[in-house]
Symmetry: C2
Subunit: 349 residues, 2 copies
DNA sequence: CTGAAAGCGCTTACAG
DNA sequence: CTGAAAGCGCTTACAG
């Protein structure tokens, strides 16, 4: 089976089309036809080729065929997300995978960890490996570095956040609208002093959620008080610490709006530790596992993570199938899930 | 830039070595040398090549180089896990990714969903895409289908469960030992009637944990009572239902041992719903997020998910680097994390 | 319907 | 130190 290399040394490699062709007594082009299911092969020959392939355990080399093929497709896409162990991204990832599987497409993944440099490295690395397209949760300040790649034909769809300085499809949540809903829910419960705890404003989703927070307060005629606003919270621990400080201050808030699931969990821990979980109201952006089992249940703005992942994948495959309409951003609705924590009134009943 | 194909049609493709060579006025072999960092190129020539490459935005085609190269490496590995949205597997996945990144290796992933057929399809599909090796959480009854692939040189390491009918490296938890620890902890608290709730016994880890359960009871001189043993629990809902039934029966258990995180969560929900969370003890196998925030905190047997993923990846890369020692199974220790639920006594105090 | 030749982008194995 | 030729495994673009 292709048993010699140029220097005559024996090579114990996989069987190739050449080996199958030799065993079946046909040209390799005929083997190629059979493997690709072309119907113009005489049944008798096709059977002989199938037998030979089965006998040798032959498997087509996708790398080689993609290299020679006109479309250069590898049936592989790349998926760059913030962190695979965040439940929101795990759910979107799973949805992308399911959509890809239906098309026989495999997924290369990478965790970007909110690191611009890593986003670039991973994106380029996946493109170098020949992915047909990319689904990206962007972290870098802008995505202009992908302009040449886009021109060269790599399809890409952005997930959770829109790209900057690059015109491409995106699927995002209604972050501003969801935040307004959250804060108006607390306002309707009688709260006037509502704290904001969120991730760094450099992340577009955090900025939009903070914007919604401010907008809801403005509509209610309340000014944003910087004393009860905390940005830059990136972990459960930092959120717990910040929540602890907020509820310990002179004029503490009667309610918290947390803009992300890790921040919500940190806030829950801080309230619990202070014994204030039934006294201070709280609404979190993004649902998380067990939010319904905690006491009180955590009221959240839920996002359609699987739906977003599925749509992003569908848009990508549409582009790969030749869709050349103008790029657009799809905004996916969010909804309030009331479970108790968001329905605590200002007097702590 | 390679602007004509055989038939003379213009092709708007990526620049190739040929284009760089033409622009720099050298042979493509010289471009190849520069791109691969071979030191034997005259500095002046190397600089000219670098300039030309930068000007054209040239990126080496990894697919093509891997095809021609002797080792055939693609700097890609495959990772097949049960489900990316399970926190245990998400954590192992992240550890494998981190280990791979250090080596410039990318990861192709697939969720097997405990489906034999899917395991086979995915494994073969990834091998066809030329992965250098595989990390697999096996679901199929046996892995003999991989014997030919192993002979042809694909390296593989099994994670969480040992392979069957295939001799290969594996990294697993001390499932039996952990289960014994869990049940002995409950026995030490005075429990004599301890229920078992677990996944299907077809999954090796579930079988081993059930075995440990039986062993701990045997040592204490207690017989396993089939009335308080439930297998085949695969979801939060089914575990909740089973837990509900167990604690509602004539002679209910005073403690539960749940063999997996989804089962533990279902049990927590059932106990909560019945208002029995402070009356019935519970120890779960495998830690999960927020287990410490629930009331009572959920006592668990913790596994070193990141450590297991890291070790599996390290073993795989060692094999890829030529390690040809005999395959072995590494058993990783587990430990008890007492948080309250496991310390409830039989009289419900 | 079948096959011999050329080539995808790169590296190997030479020769100079 | 540099390059022309051959070839990785496959498909394209022909001719029969």
């Amino acid at each position: 089976m292709s048993d010699t290399t140029g220097n005559g040394r024996a090579r114990a490699g996989r069987p190739t089309m050449k080996d199958v062709a030799a065993l079946a007594g046909v040209a390799i082009k005929t083997v190629s036809r059979v493997m690709n299911g072309e119907p113009t092969v005489a049944p008798e020959l096709a059977a002989r080729v199938q037998d030979a392939a089965a006998k040798l355990g032959y498997r087509p080399n996708l790398t080689a065929s993609s290299l020679r093929r006109g479309d250069r497709r590898t049936a592989t896409i790349g998926l760059l997300i913030e962190d695979v162990s965040n439940p929101f991204f795990a759910a979107t990832m799973r949805a992308v995978e399911d959509e890809a599987r239906q098309r026989g497409v495999q997924i290369l993944i990478g965790s970007v960890d909110e690191d611009s440099e890593r986003e670039r490295e991973l994106a380029i690395s996946l493109i170098d490996r020949g992915v047909d397209g990319l689904v990206i949760v962007p972290a870098a300040r802008d995505q202009s570095y992908l302009i040449p790649e886009r021109k060269l034909g790599t399809c890409m769809v952005f997930l959770d956040r829109e790209p900057r300085l690059l015109d491409a499809d995106a699927v995002v949540s209604d972050n501003r609208g969801g935040a307004i809903t959250a804060v108006e829910h607390l306002l309707a419960g009688g709260h006037r002093r509502i704290a904001y705890l969120g991730d760094t404003l450099a992340i577009a989703t955090a900025a939009q959620r903070f914007d919604g927070y401010g907008e809801a307060l403005r509509r209610a005629g309340i000014e944003v008080d910087p004393l009860i606003v905390r940005h830059g919270l990136r972990s459960i621990d930092s959120a717990q610490q910040a929540s602890h400080e907020l509820i310990s201050q002179a004029e503490p808030p009667t309610a918290l709006f947390t803009s992300q699931n890790l921040v919500s969990i940190g806030a829950v821990k801080a309230l619990r530790q202070a014994g204030r979980e039934n006294a201070v109201a709280m609404v979190g952006f993004d649902d998380f596992p067990l939010a319904d089992v905690l006491v009180p249940g955590v009221t959240v703005i839920a996002q359609d993570a699987p739906g977003m992942g599925q749509l992003a994948a569908q848009l990508l495959f549409a582009r790969l199938d030749g869709d050349d309409s103008l790029p657009s951003t799809r905004v996916i609705g969010t909804w309030l899930v009331a479970r108790g924590s968001g329905e605590i009134t200002p007097d702590g009943r």
